[in-house]
Subunit: 398 residues, 4 copies
């Protein structure tokens, strides 16, 4: 149960790169970070327009002097301060994540980065190595994954409540890019369909990495053995970036699965869904009904588990905030993610490896895994939508 | 609007092969056929156990003399009667459809057969040729397809209400064969997992042919260009028959699609679903909420269309039975299918080709298409789950 | 499990009064009656327009000679036939029920009458007395009440699955009379707002008697002690007939309850609902999701019970028709009601009181109870919407 | 659109009375207040146990010196500081609201108080008078009312989208007090059933005041003319406090309505609902699906409006935070309430009456109205559940 009491030694001095006035994502970061008094926002390079960024930062309550024109200046100046930032969030377009993250780590900062972390496994692994060298945490903001009912799924699966996992059905679709209009008018969509900024994928990276990470979160033992990805660009100008993709997966334990990700699923407003089918029961969660979990045992009445109740697992209850009859939403999920990353940073700072070992949060490995997911999908798709062995860091170097 | 008044010249003299006391499907046939006074059940070879079949037929109100030990006897004896049957329904396991259908056509009977029609396109085409020669109708009981909201989907798609079709998402899954138990205990399940009786597939034939036909019904212009099928036997003793399959489709117009069919989707009670995504809107129908149709226009409030209302298309209203606030279900859907087949038979008997041309019902071509769907899926799966060009009668002979 | 095999000695020779081409209700009667081979439709006075009625009857397959201009003629003529009708359904406007029912009973016919049975308890009791004298059955077509999940509610309540009953929440509302338009244009609505034909109420009689009967069906032990009814005529020309009413009830066991009935609940398409709250759990059923039953135990996951499953009570399974995954609807519910009434008639004919004693069906007492419900509501409303002791046959004569 | 930029001159110096570690409600206050940088929590008398309260406050980041043993000390000490608190939230049991609020106003503090504000209209009016004298704001935390879709309802109703209002259906029920257990074990429930602390009602005050306020928020023109309340104590030891109540309302415009409030609605997890029926359409909102609004126009497809979309009214969009596909919940609603009250306080401080005039927030009049709602309900119930004229400040003094 979270009630606002401190969870870590003291609030972390926190800065942001990006997340300025013209986008939506920065507000989610701040809402998440500031919820539990674990972060103080003390500096920022919020905007590529320095003037606008300063005005914005001041409006957020940041000292004018600590609203910087760019991240380079921020990292340099803050490192000269006794109370300079110690952790930075990166909420910029994908193409900048690598260089900013590397710079931040080199400046001795813990990093919280938007997904997808970078463009290639190679880059992601470099980040991991640098972070390890420096003794720093890298967290990745898979924001939806903070929903507590996902922990309930994890606990129930681990306890054998659905039997052996047979089928994994994942979906994250919407229709906001059903036409080309947004590519031209909407800044946030424009860069997402530009390979130079978005990287090798549109929806695979922008949407499905969320759902893929959640599947790992709830089924940590499940490893993909091979997959096949079929991707399309219904708006032709997006080619080679896909606005729709289907993926089929084979897992090492014999399970199979699917992912559907799309930005052309016209009219869809509830398209992020996870269904895990076991040998005797299934669990299903929809992001649009985040406080519920459907538990379907073959041959029994369908069960709907509700957030905040006493019958949930203690893993779930640990991050409970509002109680039943009180709906939690995405801002609570982001708060949970930022809280867990703060706990990780605090533990790292204290050299408390025991806490780190058992803490569940989207760490650098989750960031790497997201990049690998995209790479494997793209490799399959670009080879004619064929089956490919799933390559990971380990599998490649094995 | 259907109110029970006659739709055809006179009720058809109808017999059944199979559909006896020990199974569930016969009751659906009778419920459908007898609803609108278009068929009189006057004969039957209801059961492989002749004694039990006679007892059952008499209980249904059939003359004892016209309860036959087998279909051969029935066809022979009835052809000697002035008022012998003129149409027969075949509700037996798949492996017998071909021989009984051919025998019925040779005996001059119209045929209404369970799906899947036969095991191979070759057999299906033979049936079509014989039926044409004889001037007889062959209908296939895709029972769910009688739901009137599917006609509404067809009308709206044809009228451009969703724009160009981009994505086709089909599903028919349940969990009734999640374990091996039913294979041993349940007669109806037992033969479904025996290749000699079920044919080359389990769930692809048993379940997905329904949903595939409905997709054709609502999008008659859409042709599959190639597909990829990945099938599994989670209960090993079912091998090579699959209890789960994923299919990816590419259509000739550039659309793509998916089918998921499964009998191991543990706990699932609402797994037959159709979602058609167009360039500007989507339509979605769930078999478990048959009276509703979701119409999602990108950028507008979600619409739920309800059966029986005045705003529906006249194509839909033609088969309306109960009015709003009054739920229709599967028995109404079967009644619609049997009614349309009766209209087809009556038209055929009268040589009324105009009526036949515009009548929408699951005819011999729909039967052939179902068999081809299975064949293409199995061919892909058995070649390593690879993409295969979609073969049809025409494509092969072209 | 119902599969079409005979349940009674032989089909009953059945006639109809009303239910002709211009209304919707006749089709529901025929759909229900003809489903299980328990009735043969052999005569009718279907329409006040004799010509149209005959044309219609012939179209339904009735002998031209047995399509009568009025019920008087039908009863007289049929009584002269060896195979004359033995049971008649009355599907005419409310104001005619009394005289037709009395005439039918006097002609020695079993009666199946639309609800509400008559205008006054006095009339209803006369009918009961005459029926008893003559040894005849009177059934009342509360069509929705045939849904099998209601029997599941009854069984679970009886077994103590919800504890002691505390709260009863009943609703039957729609918006089809939200404006005055239908009063003028729509024949079926026109008479419903005319006190001479409809009786002392509009929605209380037309809608809430259904839901009230269902509440009795599932909680046979619950007796109303007093109630308060507040009724309105939002369309002024309907006064004194109400188009909306609220009722509060106190039951003898200390439970309390509510009924909301309305024809001005604009846009509502799913307004028939029953929720029974016990001391430890609740049961809820919505007519728009007839195959589901929600079972909510305080402190446990919400359960959704699904029709056709093996975990349901045998009382429920007895009237099971289609199996799971196959939606039942209103036509199945009507079939169940007609089937049970046929069983009652057959038992009555055979003098089988044991069968009658345990048979659950909407009998003459249910008809009387519906009339009393309306009378008590109207008495309260017309005295200033005050609390009134609930009067029944017994309470008044006590 | 809210993105965290400042809305007021500077953050308000904020203190709390109550809301300590042992309850749940304090966290909601802090989550709401601290979301938008409009309040700094600088002092508190969090707990009746002074030691525990200080420990808790320090854990929240409050200076140890400013964690006070009681509100009297806090008000006295803080008034001596240059940067003493200027606004205080009162999150204590009902019976203390009056004295603490009066003391706070007398100490020159703006007040944010839990509902129900006080026990009697007389007390509430005294508070209003003192606040006016002092030039201070009194806000009441009807937390659910911050949901933005309620503003959408208000806008649509004002724009005539549903026609004239005919029916108002309100509900707030749950089953957490279905048995007596919680009365003994659970501190938060214990005082709620003690008239000395809870006041003249249990669920009427604890639950229905929320829903009643929301009805005022969305229909500000609607005034109750008379009502009838029927209340029960299913757990007898709660008498005279009710654990269930039904209310019928007549509005001055001829509309009628209902409220159901209950803590014995066993198993209910989604019982806060509002349905407003107009002459041509209805609007319905469920607290358990807070991001959706159902708009049902008679004779048209049902519409579901979704939070965050461009088709919503600008009144709604003003408080939009997360965008579509991103679920808002109760923490966002509380943030909206606290934000609006901050804007009110800031405007009051600046003498900006224009802003105050058009600002929609739960002000002292909303607090008074809630108390009057309870008083009228109790007066009716305690006089035998009879109709009573609805008395307000104005009506009584008129």
């Amino acid at each position: 149960m979270i009630n606002g009491e401190n969870r870590i030694t003291r609030p972390l001095r926190w800065g942001m790169v990006g997340g300025g006035r013209t986008g939506q994502v920065g507000y989610k970061h701040r809402t998440g970070a500031l919820r539990d008094k674990t972060y103080d926002l003390v500096a920022g390079a919020f905007d590529i327009n320095a003037e606008r960024g300063k005005d914005f930062g001041v409006n957020l309550g940041v000292d004018s002097d600590r609203c910087y024109p760019d991240y380079q200046t921020m990292f340099a100046e803050e490192s000269n301060l006794d109370d300079g930032i110690e952790v930075v969030s990166i909420a910029t377009p994908n193409g900048t994540h690598y260089e900013i993250t590397m710079a931040a780590l080199n400046a001795g900062l813990h990093v919280i980065c938007e997904k997808p972390l970078v463009f290639t496994t190679k880059e992601a692994v470099e980040i991991k190595q640098l972070a390890e060298e420096k003794g720093l945490i890298v967290g990745v903001t898979y924001g939806f994954s903070g929903n507590v009912m996902l922990l309930q799924m994890r606990a129930m699966i681990e306890q054998g409540k659905i039997g052996d996992i047979h089928l994994v059905d994942l979906q994250y679709t919407h229709g906001y890019a059903a036409t080309v209009d947004g590519d031209k008018k909407n800044a946030a969509q424009k860069w997402r369909v530009d390979p130079k900024i978005a990287g090798p994928s549109f929806v695979l990276g922008d949407l499905s990495t969320h759902t893929y990470y959640m599947s790992q979160l709830i089924m940590p033992e499940m490893k993909i053995k091979k997959l096949l990805c079929d991707r399309q660009s219904f708006v032709g100008s997006r080619y080679p970036l896909e606005d729709n993709a289907y993926v089929l997966m084979h897992y090492e334990n014999g399970a199979v699965g699917r992912m559907w990700t799309s930005a052309v699923d016209a009219g869809c407003m509830d398209g992020q869904r996870i269904r895990i089918v076991g040998s005797k029961a299934s669990l299903e969660w929809w992001d649009s009904k985040p406080n519920e979990l459907r538990y379907e045992v073959q041959g029994e009445p369908i069960q709907t588990l509700v957030r905040g109740t006493e019958y949930l697992d203690e893993l779930t209850s640990e991050y409970e905030r509002l109680g039943t009859l009180h709906q939690e939403g995405l801002s609570d999920a982001w708060a949970n993610i930022y809280l867990r990353i703060a706990v990780a940073i605090d533990a790292k700072n204290r050299g408390d490896e025991a806490t780190l070992d058992k803490l569940i949060y989207p760490d650098i490995d989750a960031g790497i895994a997201g990049v690998q997911w995209i790479e494997n999908c793209v490799r399959s798709a670009d080879n004619g939508s064929v089956w490919v062995e799933y390559e990971t860091e380990e599998s490649v170097h094995a």
